[in-house]
């Protein structure tokens, strides 16, 4: 772990008064914090105000039981900060950070489209990537859809 990453974790742990489930690093320059999904707005706003002003993107991924969101922040200097928040796949909803951090608008809509996560409080949670006639309730980046695609690929090969 690099020195700047260690300092970053210490500072955030001391200053932030909400709950941090886990902290660690990913690669050389990336600090990772896990927070409860319902506190994401509070923590993301804190991180953005604390100096990591640039929200690079939000990654969504299906981990089987839950869908994990990764909010990637960075600034002019290392380390960068990634915030992890997971929601259960049976009821994937969490607060939207768009009202506080407008840079998130397209990223949240994309995850809504491809993984079916409801971002509550998003000013305009509508389709962005998928076509208008795409069936409701089919989310192409969920594991079961990926598995179906793999099957179709195999059939085409055979």
């Amino acid at each position: 772990m690099s020195e700047c990453a260690e300092q970053c974790i210490a500072i955030v742990r001391e200053e932030y008064d909400g709950e941090i489930l886990e902290s660690g690093t990913m690669g050389q320059y990336e600090v990772v914090f896990s927070v409860p999904a319902e506190q994401i707005v509070q923590f993301a706003t804190y991180i953005a105000k604390r100096g990591w002003w640039h929200l690079a993107t939000i990654t969504g991924q299906d981990l089987g039981e839950e869908i994990q969101m990764l909010y990637h922040f960075n600034a002019e200097e290392p380390p960068a900060v990634t915030i992890k928040a997971a929601v259960p796949k049976s009821d994937p909803r969490l607060p939207s950070i768009t009202p506080q951090l407008p840079a998130a608008t397209m990223y949240e809509r994309e995850i809504f489209d491809l993984l079916g996560v409801q971002f509550e409080g998003h000013p305009r949670l509508e389709r962005l990537v998928l076509s208008d006639d795409w069936p409701e309730g089919v989310y192409p980046l969920r594991l079961e859809e990926l598995a179906k695609q793999a099957e179709r690929d195999e059939e085409e090969k055979a």
Binding site: G27, Q61, E76, V129
Partner: protein, 360 residues
Amino acid sequence: MGRITFPIGPQHPALKEPESFKITAEGECVVEVDIRLGYVHRSIEAACCHRNFVQSMYVCERICGICSHSHNNSFARGAEVLLGLEVPPRAKYIRTIVAELERIHSHLLWLGVAGHEIGFETLFMLVWRDRETVLDLQEMISGNRNHYGMSTIGGVKFDLTTEMVDKIRASLDILAERVAYYKHVATTEVTLLKRVENVGVLSEQLARDLGACGPTLRASNVAYDVRAAIPYDAYPDVEFEVSTSDLCDVLGRTIVRVLEMAQAINIIRQLLDKLPEGDIQVRARPRVPEGEVVIRTEAPRGELFYYLRSDGSDKPARVKVRTPTLANWPATIAMLEGAYVADVPISIASIDPCMSCTDR
């Protein structure tokens, strides 16, 4: 005054790629802009999950036809971090040289397109002629004018010979002269200035808040460049300036890109002077250990973001790509709202949009 809403795209004679803009105007003023993406969505993120790491790397290279090396190189760097591979210094230098050549060719392409958008066809013709110089260099190095397939997991595929280095130097001298000329044109030519000054204005605060990146952000006076912020490849070994402008308009973006071309030439010259000897590739195992990694790259259009996760097999479990154009759309909407309808094409063009990148 009554409002009218009209669509531009997805199929439109003035758009090179399909994307839908719904523009609401009051007389000549734009009051609302809505963007709908997805017309060239190719499910690349899902496709990568069905292919092994090497195949995925080449799939990702096809996300963009202009900045293909940025994608190819980012994926390779990500896989190397997961594998714990140390790339030979010569390979890092060659990667950086190709990346900077790509930046020059991308910015020249943009300058030509910008000239075309404002009806300055002479500029378009001149710039695209000069762009051939860079494309010839890329063809000499890799065999291809684009989609070079330069980086591979563990290094680069093609070495630079002494003759190539001499040829690059000679071509850089020509390019340096041309870039100096374009700098002169961009700052003095009345035809250009009249059309781009105070057009597509994006304030510093908005640029920051809306998550803009690359030349669009730097032209709003924010000195953020991944090459300086989190240096990768051979960037720690070279000296360069982060080009910025405080004009916050299309002219600012033009100036930033022209300055960046001059910086790129400077960077390549430094790299050629210091080019280390040695291997260009190390062997990589096909199975990638479990782990996740974030890779940031300064592509010609801005910060390119990759997230890779491996579950220990030979196929990536998740590949997330965020291209610079997607990050710049919210800022573009802010630029357009309140502007004149006639300024819409050049304002959209000023972020150097790539729809195929955006949709993936």
